[in-house]
C-alpha cells in the first residue's frame, strides 16, 4: 500500500490547508490519545502534568506535528528523510509501534473535527496511507 503520486498530491493539498493549525492539532491529538487510550500515559510518567491541554502536552504535540511536517517535505523518501527520528524512536524512545496507529487515529479524528469540509473520504484515504507510511519509516530501525 505505497503512496501513489495521487496520494502524495492529496496529502500536500490537505497539509497546505491544515498546517497553520499544526500546533493545535498536535495538542488536541495528544490530549485525546492520553484520554481515550490511557495505556499511552505510561510513556509520559516523567511529565508533571498529563492533563489535556497542559503545557507538556502542548509542547509535545507541537514537536510531533513538526515531525509530520518534516515527513510531508520528505514524502518521496520517508525512510531516508526520517532516519534520525527513526533511530531516536528505536534506540531511545522505544515506543511500541502499535502506538503509532493509535496516535495516527487521533490525528485523523482531530483533522476531521477541525476541517470537516476538507477532510473528504479522498483526503482521508491519502492521509491515512501517509501516516501509515510515516509509522513504518519510524519503526525502520527497531529490529
Amino acid at each position: 500500500m505505497s503512496l501513489t503520486q495521487k496520494d502524495k498530491a492529496a496529502v500536500k493539498a490537505l497539509w497546505a490547508k491544515i498546517s497553520k493549525s499544526a500546533d493545535a492539532i498536535g495538542s488536541d491529538a495528544l490530549s485525546r490519545m492520553l484520554t481515550v487510550y490511557p495505556q499511552t500515559k505510561t510513556y509520559f510518567s516523567h511529565w508533571p502534568d498529563m492533563s489535556p491541554g497542559s503545557a507538556p502536552v502542548k509542547a509535545h504535540g507541537k514537536k510531533v506535528m513538526g515531525g509530520i511536517n518534516l515527513a510531508v517535505s520528505k514524502i518521496d523518501d520517508l525512510t531516508n528523510g526520517l532516519l534520525e527520528l527513526s533511530e531516536q524512536h528505536a534506540f531511545q524512545l522505544r515506543v511500541d509501534p502499535t502506538n503509532f496507529k493509535i496516535l495516527s487515529h487521533c490525528v485523523l479524528v482531530v483533522v476531521s473535527s477541525m476541517f470537516p469540509n476538507d477532510f473528504t473520504p479522498e483526503a482521508h484515504v491519502a492521509f491515512d496511507k501517509f501516516l501509515t507510511a510515516v509509522a513504518l519509516a519510524l519503526s525502520e530501525k527497531y529490529r
Binding site: T35, H105, S113, D128
Partner: protein, 147 residues
C-alpha cells in the same frame, strides 16, 4: 458485563438522539468503502463502486448505510446487554454474510471520523472515549458468535 458510568450513558444516548441517520449512515459506509477499498468485497451486488464519486452517489450503498446505523440503535437501547442483543446479528454476519470481523473495526473508525466532523469541538476527548468504548463493545458482540 460491561460497566457504564452515568456520564457515558448520557454521552451515547445524546449523540444518537441528535443523529440524522439518513445523513450519517451513508457517509460512514461510503467513507469505509473509499478509505478501505477491500471492504467493497461484500458489496458486489450493489452496483457501481468503481470510484469515490460512484460510491457516494450509489443509492444501494446509501440505503445500506442507514440500515447499519439503525442496527446500532439496538445497542443504544440495550446498553447493559449488547452481547445478547447482537447474538442473532453476529450469527448472520458470520454464517450468511461471511464478513471478516476485522471489518467491523474499520467501519467503526470511519463512523468515529464522521461523528467528529459533525460534532467538531463538541467531540471532546471524554466524548470520544465513551463513543469508542461503545463501538468497541458493539464490535466485540458482533464478532462473538463466529466460530
Amino acid at each position: 458485563m460491561v460497566e457504564w458510568t452515568e456520564q457515558e450513558r448520557g454521552i451515547i444516548t445524546s449523540i444518537f438522539s441528535s443523529l440524522d441517520y439518513e445523513d450519517i449512515g451513508p457517509k460512514a459506509l461510503c467513507r469505509c468503502l473509499i478509505v478501505y477499498p477491500w471492504t467493497q468485497r461484500y458489496f458486489g451486488a450493489f452496483g457501481n463502486l468503481y470510484n469515490a464519486e460512484a460510491i457516494k452517489s450509489n443509492p444501494n450503498i446509501a440505503a445500506h448505510g442507514v440500515t447499519v446505523l439503525h442496527g446500532l440503535d439496538r445497542a443504544v437501547k440495550n446498553m447493559d446487554n449488547i452481547k445478547a442483543t447482537y447474538a442473532e446479528l453476529s450469527v448472520l454476519h458470520s454464517e450468511k454474510l461471511h464478513v471478516d470481523p476485522d471489518n467491523f473495526k474499520l467501519l467503526s473508525d470511519c463512523l468515529t471520523i464522521v461523528i467528529a466532523a459533525k460534532l467538531g469541538n463538541g467531540f471532546t476527548p471524554e466524548t470520544q472515549a465513551a463513543w469508542q468504548k461503545f463501538l468497541a463493545v458493539v464490535v466485540s458482540a458482533l464478532g462473538r458468535q463466529y466460530h
